[in-house]
Symmetry: C2
Subunit: 302 residues, 2 copies
């Protein structure tokens, strides 16, 4: 490695640790990752896990800043970084929790998540993706949707997160398609655009039907040879449709920025466009890095 | 054992095998059970599993009738007993599938399940509970609800199952409370009547909110110390409320007979009574036995 590492950006989630070794000009020298997620570590396991991944690039005789977002800041993580409360700007360096380390080559800070008192809701990590999107799109006013295991919908105005809601859509899809009786009928891959669109439409216009229609995927396979890929698209459509029905106060009459990997964001995009909602796509991992860069660039008052 | 076993009633589900050793007057000599459910057996494992449980009581030199209901009659079971199609009376001996056995002391018949073409739906076992309820309540006209892992709602008229729908409520509750992120916030036991009733009411009046409210159980625990027993009752209320919202065409303006164990049926009873629906409770296991007795009593034309 010829360029010196000036600081390190880190996205530390429940199941992963991703770091970017950064130069002094905002450029990425190298991206690294490990499976040492928050969920696998005791409190005293975080520093060793970080050193395992980046110890070889830390200059001696100085402390290299590490800016972390995500679940490492939860109560069960490395050190709790208490939530900021909406309405608020995405947390920056001044709100970050400074974490003591044994190794003097590290200067670790963890960004807080964001909470909402009523209705009760929390995020950790997504606020940094939002910060990244806003740093690339200053003045953005509208909705940011972050689809995933626990999808988030956030209302953004004047640079602040005004309100947000979480939906368990990705986790429900994984449980139903992988562990419920539907696993016999839902394929692990494959897609059917028409079945997806129809399912979204049905549950959005009649959300009370969801509970009745789920088992229909199993019965349809038993009685009418319903194809596994079609069942997969239909299940996804039911769950995303239920999410869109509940999130309607967010997207109705608004523009929506979708922050996610293409495979996750594509069905949301299709469903929103069918509702004539203007949609912008942005890559979630890039937004995370941009958010960490934005936080690192703010004045640290500590 | 002093009384001779005249025939054997059997409820063979996915996870259990229950048998009743019957005398000639419709009385139960003994109830036995094993964990040799359909889900654990290959096709050639059913006869040995049955012999293990009842082989000691089978008289020599004659064949003892065994009347079976449940998943043993599915395609992955002992022998497929093809579905009857609604509208139909619950299947009786004449529709049962006669299954060949190696042991001449057995004369095994499996009752068919019931299917509905549109909307696609199936049941195996519940039709026998319905038959049991109808044999004790001849002329019953109204709705039978069988709450459980896969709850069924059936419209009964003139002794026939006219139509029915299945809801994955019990399975959803188990997955969400035991395996999703909500497992950290939902207690394994405990109850809160008020929280249950409020959750049922909320989702029934605004079913589109379900997807948004689920994660609120987790956030409520993190931010407002939401009690685990309250969260459990609220989750149950959300899911049963979603089921009632979808099943409204069944229960609205009808009388409902609830067939289930008390612990499972009690919340349904509370939720239905809050809607001013007249509810009768009946024990599911007893209904199964009565249904098998009713089937055994019919003329077997084979």
């Amino acid at each position: 490695m010829t360029t010196a590492v000036t600081w390190i950006a880190a996205d530390w989630g429940t199941s992963h640790l991703r770091v970017w070794l950064m130069d002094g000009a905002g450029g990425v020298i190298e991206r690294r990752a490990s499976a040492d997620g928050m969920g696998t570590l005791a409190q005293d396991g975080f520093e060793p896990a970080l050193l395992k991944l980046v110890g070889d690039v830390l200059p001696e005789g100085q402390s290299t800043p590490v800016m972390i977002c995500g679940m490492a800041g939860s109560r069960q993580g490395w050190a709790e970084a208490p939530y900021a409360t909406v309405p608020c700007t995405p947390p920056a360096a001044a709100q970050a929790r400074l974490v003591g380390t044994s190794d003097p080559r590290l200067r670790v800070r963890i960004l807080p998540g964001v909470k909402q008192e009523h209705p009760a809701d929390v995020m950790r990590g997504e606020e940094t993706q939002i910060a990244g999107f806003l740093s690339l799109n200053p003045g953005y006013d509208g909705i940011i949707c972050l689809p995933g295991t626990h999808s988030k919908w956030a209302h953004i105005s004047a640079g602040e997160i005004v309100s947000f809601r979480t939906f368990m859509t990705g986790e429900l899809f994984a449980l139903l398609s992988g562990q419920s009786v539907l696993r016999h009928s839902v394929a692990a891959s494959g897609w059917d655009e028409g079945a997806f669109a129809e399912a979204v439409d049905t549950v959005m216009s009649r959300p009370e039907r969801l509970a009745a229609d789920l088992f229909g995927l199993r019965a349809g396979a038993l009685l009418h040879d319903l194809d596994g890929a079609t069942a997969r698209a239909r299940l996804s459509g039911m769950l995303i449709g239920a999410e869109l029905a509940a999130a309607k106060p967010y997207w109705l009459g608004q523009q929506v920025a979708l922050l996610g990997a293409t495979s996750v964001a594509a069905p949301y995009r299709a469903a929103l466009m069918a509702q004539s909602v203007p949609v912008t796509l942005a890559d979630a991992e890039r937004m995370t890095l941009e958010g960490l860069k934005a936080a690192q660039a703010t004045k640290d008052t500590k």
